[in-house]
């Protein structure tokens, strides 16, 4: 049973891990990203639709590009248009929700989903994206904490004016971080439609994008923390699913709905317990960069 549990975590967790790391990168650069849900949806749809025409691995790249493209729109609105970042992110979610339905109807004449595609090949029983999801948190952790780019990224989220004084282009750095964030969210979405399932379904990603935001907060805006929280949430979910078949009696004591609400409730509890002012959120999070300010 434990092995079966591990198996299902390895299948279910990567999407959440990618998206949570993506959200973390954007927010560390000071740009709020609540549009992860929409970017994942773009990635899931892009990957599935492209895989009808081309080999699935290339389709996944299209999904990544779709996520990045949507993120570029978010970045342009937030950085150059100086829009409210939460507004822009929510707008992206709403547009992607409707656009997905519209394109499904327009291109595949079906409101439910795309036709089935060939899944990604399996390496050692799991898709390559699973193994990537295990390595990536460490790579991003290294990049953020040990490279000049990472230092600048963190600085631009704390005090962009200081970075500008160093001679680094704040807008370009932030734009890159947001696009990268969208690419990762897109990869997460692509994992849903090419590895977990073999098609895009209209309900995707069914709130995983928001759970990724929860994982980022839970992981205190660090790549390893976010990935760990994502893994924890995915494990909890897999445990719930396996319990519902193996020990249905337990779920009569603790209802499924309570377990489903737990990740979000836990995140709230963690936030509520911290001391005021002790938030680990980047200091310049949510503020448009104004070069005139000091």
């Amino acid at each position: 049973m434990l092995l079966a549990l591990l198996d299902s975590v390895l299948d279910a967790a990567p999407a959440l891990v990618f998206a949570a790391i993506g959200a973390t990168l954007s927010e560390r650069a000071g740009v709020v990203n609540v549009g992860v849900e929409g970017m994942m949806r773009a990635g899931a749809f892009g990957a599935a639709a492209a895989s009808i025409l081309m080999p699935t691995p290339l389709g996944v790249l299209v999904g990544v590009a779709a996520g990045a493209l949507v993120a570029a729109l978010h970045a342009w609105l937030c950085i150059h248009g100086r829009s409210d970042q939460v507004v822009s992110g929510m707008a992206i979610n709403l547009v992607m929700l409707a656009l997905g339905q519209f394109l499904l109807e327009a291109a595949f004449s079906s409101p439910a989903g795309t036709p089935p595609i060939e899944q990604l090949p399996k390496w050692l029983g799991h898709s390559p994206l699973t193994w990537l999801a295990i390595v990536l948190p460490f790579v991003v952790h290294f990049a953020v904490t040990r490279t000049p780019w990472g230092l600048r990224l963190r600085a631009v989220g704390e005090k962009p004016q200081a970075v500008a004084a160093m001679g680094v282009r704040v807008t370009r750095l932030r734009f890159g971080a947001v696009v990268l964030s969208g690419a990762l969210a897109g990869l997460g979405g692509a994992q849903l439609s090419t590895a977990v399932l073999d098609r895009f379904e209209n309900h995707m990603p069914a709130g995983l994008g928001f759970m990724a935001v929860a994982a980022m907060v839970f992981g205190r805006w660090t790549p390893l923390g976010a990935a760990g929280a994502a893994l924890f949430f995915a494990f909890g979910n897999a445990l719930r699913i396996s319990l519902s078949s193996s020990a249905p009696g337990l779920l009569e004591v603790i209802p499924q709905g309570v377990l489903l609400a737990l990740p979000y409730a836990l995140t709230l509890v963690v936030l509520a317990l911290q001391k005021p002012g002790a938030s680990r959120a980047p200091a310049a999070l949510g503020q448009a960069y104004d070069p005139e300010l000091r």
Binding site: R82, M90, A91, L94, L97, F102, A214
Partner: protein, 366 residues
């Protein structure tokens, strides 16, 4: 006059641009401008009444039925839109309208089914229960913000999912599930009593109900409060510059809490209108992201209660009319695409401000 036109320009421009963009999309995807014109006309008649058919001697139902559908949708959009807008005015972003609407809807369904009272009292009691439930659900984020510095965007997103999971995956399928007879096992709460239903305004012909009156009244009251009362002025002052408001002796923390309570109550009322007006019970799932639509309405309406009302009437209409576009091979969610694009365009406020300064130069020639 010029000033209010300038304020409304981004919204009007965004709506027109997204309508145009979607028109082009339909024309390209569905084979021609003619088809697109027909589809958009069908949407209009479905939204605001089938006037061609009426003037051809059709019954008044061809006007009342579409208008009823539009008004039902507009009422919900207005209430959630006002909910988001009122929080906005004190500088809070209430993403939690969805969760507050869910608990409000559940409260209406429970009180509507469990209590027996004469009609006007019963409806009032349901509305009060919903408003209270919504307000209490919004109180958490307000307190977390005040005493723990937790950003309301994060806490309300979390509470949306907590409400959704607890209500739709537990309460509605478990403890509050309707008692079923025979094989008809359906998720959802029991049917509310007839005395709890919102009164119909046009008889059996149309689903037009008193919800839209409630929504319009809420918009007007909120507009008066924000523009004519000291408390409303304080909210606006705090939203504009919290530090200055605090320095001039206003109680910022208390205003955060009271505005969030009002915001939650409005979203809760939206849930009540949904249950008492159309659903008549809490179904297995309420399905649509009504609370997120409220964000769109608040922003397209520029945070002004009457602006929210206007944009809700427009988009409520388009949504009701959208079902008629299916005849032309366009999914009925098309109006939501128009709405989403309009919101995205409104978000690019800086672009619109540059444009409006060019079109309507501010006084003093700056």
């Amino acid at each position: 006059m010029l000033e209010s036109l300038r304020a409304a320009l981004p919204s009007i421009g965004s709506i027109l641009t997204s309508l145009l963009g979607c028109f082009v999309a339909v024309a390209v995807l569905r084979g021609g401008v003619d088809v697109a014109i027909d589809a958009f006309l069908a949407m209009c008649w479905g939204a605001f009444g089938d006037f061609p058919k009426f003037f051809d001697g059709g019954a008044s139902a061809v006007l009342l039925r579409p208008l009823g559908e539009s008004a039902t949708k507009a009422a919900l959009l207005t209430l959630t839109g006002l909910s988001v807008a009122v929080a906005f005015r004190v500088g809070l972003f209430n993403i939690g309208a969805q969760g507050q609407l869910i608990v409000g809807a559940l409260a209406a369904a429970v009180v509507g089914a469990a209590v027996e009272l004469p009609s006007p009292l019963h409806v009032t009691l349901c509305l009060l229960a919903s408003a209270t439930a919504g307000a209490l659900y919004a109180l958490g984020p307000a307190l977390l913000k005040r005493y723990r510095g937790v950003h309301e965007v994060i806490s309300t997103i979390m509470l949306n999912w907590v409400a959704l999971m607890l209500v739709e995956n537990w309460l509605v399928t478990g403890p509050l599930r309707a008692v079923t007879t025979g094989d008809n096992s359906i998720a959802g709460t029991a049917q509310i009593h007839e005395s709890a239903e919102l009164p119909r305004l046009a008889g059996e012909v149309s689903r037009l109900n008193a919800g839209i009156l409630l929504a319009i009244a809420a918009a007007i009251v909120l507009w008066l409060w924000l523009s004519r009362f000291v408390g409303g002025f304080e909210w606006r002052a705090i939203g504009a510059t919290p530090a200055a408001a605090q320095a001039s002796g206003m109680n910022v923390g208390r205003s955060f809490i009271s505005a969030m309570l009002v915001s939650g109550a409005l979203a809760g009322l939206g849930g009540a209108v949904l249950i008492l007006g159309t659903e008549q019970r809490y179904p297995a799932t309420i399905g649509a992201p009504y609370g997120f639509d409220g964000i769109a309405m608040a922003l397209i309406g520029n945070g002004h209660p009457l602006g929210v009302l206007a944009s809700s009437l427009l988009f409520g209409g388009l949504r009701a009319g959208g079902t008629r576009m299916q005849l032309f091979g366009v999914h009925k969610s098309f109006p939501e695409l128009i709405q989403g694009l309009a919101l995205l365009l409104v978000a690019a406020r800086l672009v619109w401000m540059k444009l409006s300064n060019r079109l309507l130069p501010p006084k003093g020639g700056a």
